[in-house]
């Protein structure tokens, strides 16, 4: 997307709204559009808005193969994760108080789990393997008598690695444990077939799939039925699971985005895979580059690379006309390097050196070629500036150096 001078390679962070989606959303805002409250049962304005909401619901359910009645609108994947985790834990607390999740989950899962710990729940945070995957085996061995919920992401947002939710679901179902999956990164990238998965709850986001920000959904299985304690009360919308007037235009936007994703997933993936291959090949021509995550088991739209001896934030600053993300501490408010990369057992310095490139529907050849050219140039310049690179060239093993901390 080169309409502006900055190249956008941060699609895993958010995507632009597809213009087709935006124009559909516009039909549900203004006086000449369908602006009604979908909960108004007594007039045409309400009926039309309700129709649009239900059509959108069926587009969402159509993409992931479930019943439309199993989709609950939320303000985004964060709320969906909160509703799933806190909602299930609080509803089923008489059955048990143990929850299993992983160290590489999004904060939208980790923070609700921390909150539940404060409420007296016990949470196990599983380590990924060195490839960034949570294996079904480690989940199986973490199950206890009092486990009520397993929450594992489908695709990791930093690495793009894919967890085997089919196998994990079999284990949780066999053990009578509910299974929640954060699928914010999955829609439009990988096929999801909820009718044939033993997944009980799944979180979705619109804005990672060319829909608007501020809208998401939670899949809540009907058979066998999953129950939740609501987080937001007031009006009993969404069968009591999530009250609040439905944001028709946002919902229509998410529906349209997911409808398009269903039609175009294959061509989107094909295109992105080509860019991924091209990028990978060129990046690996640079010395001392490490690919984070499992190349054999990841989605092609995300590529996470560590450039050893170069700090990630300075690299991002060097790539000034390219929008990417870094696992570097310096880009976060906490000054901690990426907890995901650390969980893989990567050395801190490699976590500091990591950049996530993510491609999408509007990426073009020029974006990729220009980025690759600038990238190798900037890495070279920053290494010339790096005392670590100098020491490395002098044959010094950095692990044996006694660093003077400041």
């Amino acid at each position: 997307m080169s309409t502006q001078s900055t190249i956008y390679l941060d699609y895993a962070s958010t995507t632009p709204v597809d213009p087709r989606v935006a124009s559909k959303m516009m039909e549900f805002l203004t006086p000449d559009g369908e602006f009604g409250n979908p909960a108004s049962r007594s007039h045409r304005f309400g009926w039309k808005a309700d129709e649009a909401v239900e059509e959108a619901r069926s587009h969402v359910s159509g993409l992931v193969n479930c019943d439309p009645r199993e989709i609950v609108w939320t303000s985004g994947a964060t709320e969906a994760d909160n509703l799933a985790i806190k909602g299930v834990a609080r509803f089923y607390k008489s059955k048990g108080n143990h929850i299993i999740t992983s160290k590489i989950e999004h904060k939208a899962v980790l923070d609700p789990c921390r909150q539940l710990e404060r409420e007296g729940f016990e949470v196990t945070y599983l380590d990924p393997n060195e490839k960034g995957v949570i294996t079904p085996e480690v989940i199986k061995s973490a199950i206890q008598e009092n486990t009520i919920l397993v929450s594992i992401m489908h695709i990791n947002n930093e690495l793009g690695t894919v967890n085997d939710i089919e196998k994990i679901g079999k284990i949780t179902r066999d053990n009578g444990i509910l299974f929640h999956v954060d699928a914010a990164q999955s829609t439009g990238k990988i096929n999801i077939d909820l009718k044939n998965l033993n997944v009980d709850l799944m979180s979705f986001s619109a804005h990672k799939t060319y829909g608007p920000k501020g809208i998401g959904a939670l899949y809540v299985r009907r058979k066998p039925r999953v129950r939740l304690e609501a987080l937001i009360h007031g009006g009993g919308h969404e069968r009591g699971m999530r009250s609040g007037t439905l944001a028709t235009h946002q919902i229509v936007g998410m529906g349209e985005a997911f409808r398009i994703a269903n039609v175009e997933m294959e061509s989107d993936c094909e295109k992105v895979s080509e860019y991924h291959e091209q990028f990978l090949k060129k990046v690996q021509e640079i010395d001392h580059v490490y690919i984070n995550g499992d190349l054999k088991n990841k989605v092609p739209n995300i590529l996470n690379v560590s450039f050893n001896f170069v700090e990630g934030e300075s690299l991002i600053m060097g790539l000034k006309d390219i929008a990417v993300s870094s696992g570097s501490a310096c880009t976060s408010a906490s000054l901690e390097p990426s907890y995901v990369l650390r969980a893989l057992g990567r050395k801190d310095e490699l976590a500091h050196s990591s950049i996530r490139f993510s491609f999408g529907r509007f990426t073009n050849d020029d974006d990729v070629n220009n980025t690759l050219e600038i990238l190798s140039n900037v890495v070279h310049r920053l290494r010339e500036l790096s005392p670590l690179w100098e020491m490395h060239l002098d044959g010094i093993d950095l692990d044996t150096v006694e660093w003077k901390l400041h």
Binding site: E311, S314, S328, C330, E349, S386, P387, L388
Partner: protein
């Protein structure tokens, strides 16, 4: 995170024109060279600063400086800023440089103040190393 214009300028000038901005190294064994290296890769920043001095009266003057920095943009800009301050200074004057001068020159935000502290520590160490050789 938004950077001050000054940090961005300093960073870009330094990486685009490393020689003019004193990126490089002296032989640390030379008697008129003092080397300081602070920080750690695991923390995300390492700065190496070298001064080349000569005696003048009853003190020593910094004639030239070289540095290399691994770290965020602000760390690189901070070292570059410090280096500019050092040339021509006596060791006493150099010792008196405070991190706050770098903070002000680059308009560093609070979260990046540690970058300027790193720079201040590096010159202290380099002077210590130089003095130990005299």
């Amino acid at each position: 995170m938004a950077y001050s214009k000054k940090v961005v300028e300093k960073f870009e000038n330094t990486i685009n024109n490393p020689e003019a901005f004193k990126v490089g190294r002296f032989d640390p064994k030379e008697l008129n060279v003092g080397t300081g290296m602070v920080g750690a890769p695991a923390c995300g920043d390492v700065m190496k600063l070298q001064i080349k001095c000569e005696p003048k009266g009853n003190t020593h003057v910094i004639k030239d400086v070289k540095f290399k920095t691994y770290g965020c943009g602000s760390a690189i800009a901070s070292s570059s800023e410090l280096v500019e301050m050092l040339i021509g200074k006596t060791l006493e004057e150099a010792k008196a440089i405070k991190n706050i001068e770098i903070v002000e020159a680059l308009e560093l935000p609070p979260i990046k103040i540690h970058c300027s502290v790193l720079a201040e520590d590096s010159i202290k160490q380099a002077i210590e190393d130089y003095e130990s050789k005299q």
